[in-house]
């Protein structure tokens, strides 16, 4: 069971969280403006990274907040967790882990 650090509540067991897919998949401000192809990519195309993956979690049985995390998919180790709206922590954070 993973140990996940909620940016609001601190480290908590995985049982309290729900996984919510890849992070930073941006919904167009006005979906009418985007092409069918772009919308299809928004709906279905995910990066499926081997390595550090930006993903969303929800502290469902806690503060109920969604947040973002960087997790290495080869080790399941978290590099960082950060709040929605904050930029993805820069490469220096990843390099310094």
């Amino acid at each position: 069971m993973l140990l996940i650090t909620c940016p609001f509540c601190g480290p908590r067991p995985e049982l309290e969280f729900g996984y919510a897919g890849e992070a930073h998949v941006v919904r167009a401000q006005d979906p009418r403006e985007v092409s069918d192809l772009q919308w299809t990519e928004y709906l279905y195309q995910r990066s499926n990274v081997r390595g550090v993956h930006a993903e969303r979690w929800r502290h469902a049985h806690g503060c109920a907040q969604f947040f973002n995390a960087l997790r290495d998919t080869t080790t399941d180790h978290f590099v960082a967790t950060y709040r929605i709206g904050e930029p993805r922590p820069d490469a220096a954070v990843e390099a310094g882990r």
């Binding site: 140990l3 919904r27 009418r32 299809t40 969604f66 399941d76 180790h77």
Partner: protein, 1001 residues
């Protein structure tokens, strides 16, 4: 039998305490401290089971967790029966009942042993090959026979009568394995001020020290050092010691799964749980899991009486058992000499020590020679004799160029082998730590760790006792420091210097025979041989993972503890590539087989899953309702009167609702309170409907899509005020919908001022439906006019019902005049009972979900998840009217505009079906075709989504999704069923009161 092979002295068994047990119904005795294996050996029994594929007689090979052969079923009755236990780990207790496995009718006479005679026809990959060809041979011929003969133990025939416990724990340092390395690590971690958990799979701590009869540590005999060390750890107060506890899995973030066996070793009916699952989160982990001796691969290396050399020494020195009278030892490693000496001292005749190395040297070899043991250097083994027990070994000179000379039969009743040792890197590998091949050691050892863990002692290839102790202490100190403890000065341990050991062999020994004519077993449990591995490679398999699967080597319950390195050794020979390049297979949890019970823990029977009950549940139960599970809820399905079956009850309930009135518990509906200045705008963006213009006091049917345009959920939504909406969802969709709403609220529309609160549990919902609903309800209502003029269909009012504050909806899911009375959950039953009693003169009946389904289907109302399956758009379901066309955006809107989602595409659409024969009720899920005579594969046009007998129509009816269905209304289609074809006519989806007159009573 009377323990004829028990030595007069020695060992850790309690000679004052005789233990009686039975094996295959035969009464035997052993001593307290014995395992089942040591007790069998004390009685001269080596034959312990039959092999998996060929039913060859097999004996006890090892003395520990790695045992592949001696698998037994244990348990005095079926409720306590466990199959596939390793006799080497089953502790003896008074009254133990054990049986051998995989034999029929008895261990000594086994009919399926005929497989042993036709073995040439069961090669590697047999399953894959027969599965492919000849067609049908697999299912008709091979599989039934193989299922009858192969396999290991049998499943218990009764439910598990024991209970299991589960616990979470945290510690600074978890030490896995309490041999010398683990004990030293625990000492150091305690000295560093850390909270320690020390676990070991055996019944007592000590590991290899339990059979250490020669060495002294820091000037005292090893066994005394052991007891003093344990006492020191126990008195420290910061160490939790868990014996009989196997660390079976190493999970991310330093969480390890341990199984503590609590009662299996106790006689009689034990109280308390049988096992306890520990989920331990450790700051630092020290792995001191030891090593496993490798067998040698030579022709007929599997007869009973053939044993690992180290195991034989353990039986002699720890259990005081003589495993035979006359031993031949075949080895590639010095440690076998130590075993030979120990057995020699125990009175076992040593017929020969055959060393495949040309010039074995070193302390143990010298000691053996000095003791006069017959050492044959440069000697291999080409075969064995004996059926239920080994009777002889064929020894032959092995030249430096690998040629094998003429063999000589040496008689023996015990054949010991040692190919060296394989470090137990299982847990380290599970933790995703990298394994590296150590050329000098001839084994994979832990490299860079992936978790906060340290590896000590034999499981990283350290073998000399003094070095093992020092290594364990150093790793324990490092772990303590890393966990935040103070520095611990290095410590050395003075041991009487036992000679160092070396050597080792991986692969198959040369035997000079025609390879096609011999069987040299690599994986004893799965009966795979050196020849099988060579065959797999010759058939083109190169990856060790593929070779493993094709030959099933390493895939038995022992997970290749004994076989992996020899399989690699053979592969490296044939492929002419170094082992380091071939790599090793992945280790997976569990380390040893683990009961399902310990994973289930408390979650059995009533506690298996959460059960949600409505406020009206117990009333319904008292009325004799039959319940069904809807997500976690228990819902009343129908309320049969005495003598009624479901069909009759549902027909009566349906007629009553249409003719008079029915009362229905809708409390399970999901409810979400959406509040805030931007509540309407938020719902605009979530649901397909337009909400801005909905006036307070009005209801609207809401349809929710996923972003891909397909229907996710639906429900009636009431506007209570400008800034407050009462949203209802489907019973099963409540949590999903709230999560989705929260997701958009938090991440896509954070600028909206809106708050979401689940109120599912707070409201009881009583649906009152039927032409007499208003007259029954009216006397209970205070503070509202519920006349048709004041309160039309799809309106909501706040008032009091039966004296209780209520949100009263005028809404219908039946097609009749209807109300849904929302009252605080605690008052739900009282209000329900009051209305139910008052409605009796008018003919009010309680109805359940089955009647609800029929009534709504008569009206063509969909149920999400029944008429929809995640690929249905609003238009498919005939719900385009719900969409707020003027809205710039809502979840799913953009996807609906994609090609393939709308106009010009023949999508499946919701329609009604009427069978030609009105008595025939279609099966839900049945397929629809145009031409029933078309040969398969037929062109399927759609499928039945809902199908019922309608008491209202006095005939059957169904809903279906049919390709281009609305254009096909009036057409005849066919439903092919076994033995017959049913003709149906496509209709519109509304069967009852298409004009909606009844909604107003």
């Amino acid at each position: 039998m009377s323990q004829n092979f028990r030595l007069p002295t020695g060992g850790r068994v309690n000679r004052a305490k005789t233990i009686n047990f039975t094996f295959d119904g035969r009464r035997m005795s052993g001593l307290e401290g014995d395992t089942l294996a040591s007790a069998l050996l004390a009685n001269g029994e080596h034959l312990a089971g039959r092999s998996f594929k060929y039913h060859r007689p097999r004996g006890i090979l090892s003395a520990g967790a790695e045992e592949p052969n001696a698998l037994v079923g244990v348990g005095a009755d079926e409720g306590h029966y466990s199959p596939n236990l390793r006799a080497t780990q089953v502790e003896l207790f008074e009254g133990l009942v054990a049986e051998s496995q995989n034999r029929s009718p008895s261990l000594r006479y086994d009919w399926a042993g005929v497989n042993n005679l036709i073995w040439r026809f069961i090669p590697a990959g047999f399953y894959y090959k027969t599965f492919m060809w000849p067609r049908g041979a697999w299912t008709k011929f091979f599989e039934p026979r193989i299922r009858a003969m192969a396999g290991l133990g049998r499943a218990p025939r009764a439910p598990d009568a024991t209970t299991y416990a589960q616990r979470y724990a945290h510690c600074d340092v978890l030490v896995v394995g309490a041999g010398p390395a683990g004990l030293a690590a625990a000492l150091a971690a305690v000295q560093g001020g850390q909270r320690v958990i020390l676990c070991d799979e055996q019944n007592e701590l000590g590991g290899s020290l339990l059979s250490e009869t020669d060495a002294a540590i820091d000037g005292i005999p090893a066994v005394r050092w052991l007891s003093e060390t344990i006492a020191q750890l126990r008195s420290a107060g910061s160490v939790q010691i868990l014996t009989r506890t196997t660390a079976f899995g190493y999970f991310p973030h330093n969480m390890l799964g341990l199984v503590e066996r609590l009662t299996d070793h106790l006689p009689g009916a034990a109280s308390g749980p049988r096992e306890r699952l520990w989920q331990v989160r450790a700051k630092q982990v020290v792995l001191a899991a030891g090593e496993i001796e490798r067998p040698l691969v030579f022709p007929d290396n599997d007869r009973p009486g053939i044993m690992l050399a180290g195991a034989a020494r353990i039986y002699a020195s720890r259990y005081g058992v003589k495993p035979g009278q006359r031993a031949v030892i075949v080895t590639a490693h010095d440690s076998a000499y130590r075993a030979a000496l120990a057995l020699y001292q125990a009175g076992v005749g040593i017929a020969a020590i055959a060393d495949v190395r040309a010039n074995p040297q070193g302390g143990w070899v010298d000691l053996a020679r000095k003791a006069g043991l017959p050492v044959r250097a440069g000697c291999t083994i080409t075969g064995t004799s004996g059926r239920l027990r080994v009777t002889g070994a064929d020894l032959a000179p092995l030249a430096a160029d690998g040629t094998v000379g003429a063999s000589e039969r040496v008689s023996c009743d015990l054949l010991l082998m040692s190919g060296g040792f394989t470090p137990s890197v299982h847990l380290f590998s599970q933790s995703r730590g990298k394994l590296v091949y150590d050329e000098a050691l001839g084994a994979f050892v832990p490299g860079a760790p992936a978790e906060d863990c340290w590896v000590a002692g034999a499981c990283r290839g350290v073998s000399l006792l003094s070095e093992v102790l020092a290594d364990g202490f150093a790793k324990g100190a490092s772990a303590a420091r890393a966990a935040g403890g103070g520095p611990v000065p290095a410590r050395s341990f003075a041991t009487t210097q036992a000679p160092a050991t070396g050597g080792g062999f991986a692969g198959a020994l040369p035997h000079g025979k025609n390879p096609a004519s011999v069987r040299a077993f690599v994986d004893f449990q799965n009966d795979s041989t050196a020849k099988d591995i060579k065959l797999a490679i010759s058939e083109g398999l190169r990856s060790i993972e593929h070779i493993k699967r094709y030959t099933t080597t390493g895939m038995a319950t022992d997970q290749g503890k004994i076989s992996n390195m020899n399989a690699l050794g053979i592969a490296t020979d044939v492929l002419a590539r170094p082992i380091a390049q071939i790599g090793t297979t992945t280790f997976r949890m569990p380390y040893t087989p683990t009961t399902f019970g310990v994973f289930a823990g408390y979650a059995r029977g009533d506690l298996f899953d959460t059960v949600r009950r409505t406020p009206v549940h117990h009333w319904a139960q008292a009325q004799g309702a039959v319940f069904e599970d809807v997500s976690l809820w228990k819902r009343a399905r129908y309320f049969p009167l005495p003598g009624e079956d479901m069909h009759q009850a549902v027909a009566r309930e349906c007629r009553a609702v249409r003719a008079a009135a029915g009362i229905f518990d809708a409390s399970t509906l999901g409810k979400i309170e959406v509040v805030g200045p931007d509540a309407a705008e938020f719902l605009n963006r979530m649901y397909v409907n337009a909400w801005s213009k909905l006036k307070p006091g009005r209801l609207r049917y809401g349809l929710l899509l996923r972003e891909d345009g397909f229907i996710l959920d639906d429900g009636v939504i009431g506007r209570m005020s400008d800034e407050c909406f009462h949203v209802t969802t489907t019973t099963g969709g409540a949590a999903r919908v709230l999560t989705m709403m929260e997701d958009y609220r938090q991440t896509e529309f954070p600028e909206l001022k809106v708050w979401l609160t689940s109120t599912t549990e707070q409201w009881a919902v009583i649906a009152l439906q039927g032409p007499k609903a208003r007259e029954i309800l009216a006397p209970f209502v205070e503070g509202a006019d519920i006349s048709h003029a004041a309160m039309p269909h799809m309106s909501v009012v706040e008032c009091r019902v039966a004296g209780v504050p209520a949100r009263l909806f005028r809404v219908s899911f039946t097609g009749e005049l209807g109300f849904e009375i929302n009252v605080p959950a605690d008052y739900g039953r009282a209000v329900w009972e009051a209305i139910f009693a008052a409605g009796q003169p008018a003919g009010l009946v309680a109805y359940g979900t089955e009647t609800m389904h029929v009534l709504r289907a008569e009206k063509g109302y969909i149920i999400v998840g029944q008429e929809t399956d995640g690929t249905v758009t609003p238009d498919d379901a005939g719900l385009s009217w719900a969409i707020g066309k003027a809205k710039p955006d809502f979840v799913g809107k953009r996807a609906l505009a994609r090609a393939g989602m709308g106009e010009g595409v023949q999508r499946k659409q919701l329609v009604g079906l009427l069978t030609d024969d009105p008595q025939v009720v279609l099966e839900e899920g049945a397929q629809l075709v145009a031409d029933p005579a078309q040969p398969p594969p037929m062109t399927m046009l759609g499928h039945v989504t809902s199908s019922y007998w309608s008491a209202t129509l006095n005939r059957s009816m169904a809903l279906a999704l049919v390709k281009n269905g609305r254009a096909r209304i009036g057409e005849t289609l066919h439903v092919p069923m076994p033995g017959r074809v049913i003709r149906v006519t496509i209709t519109g989806p509304v069967f009852y009161d298409a004009e909606g007159i009844k909604l107003d009573g």
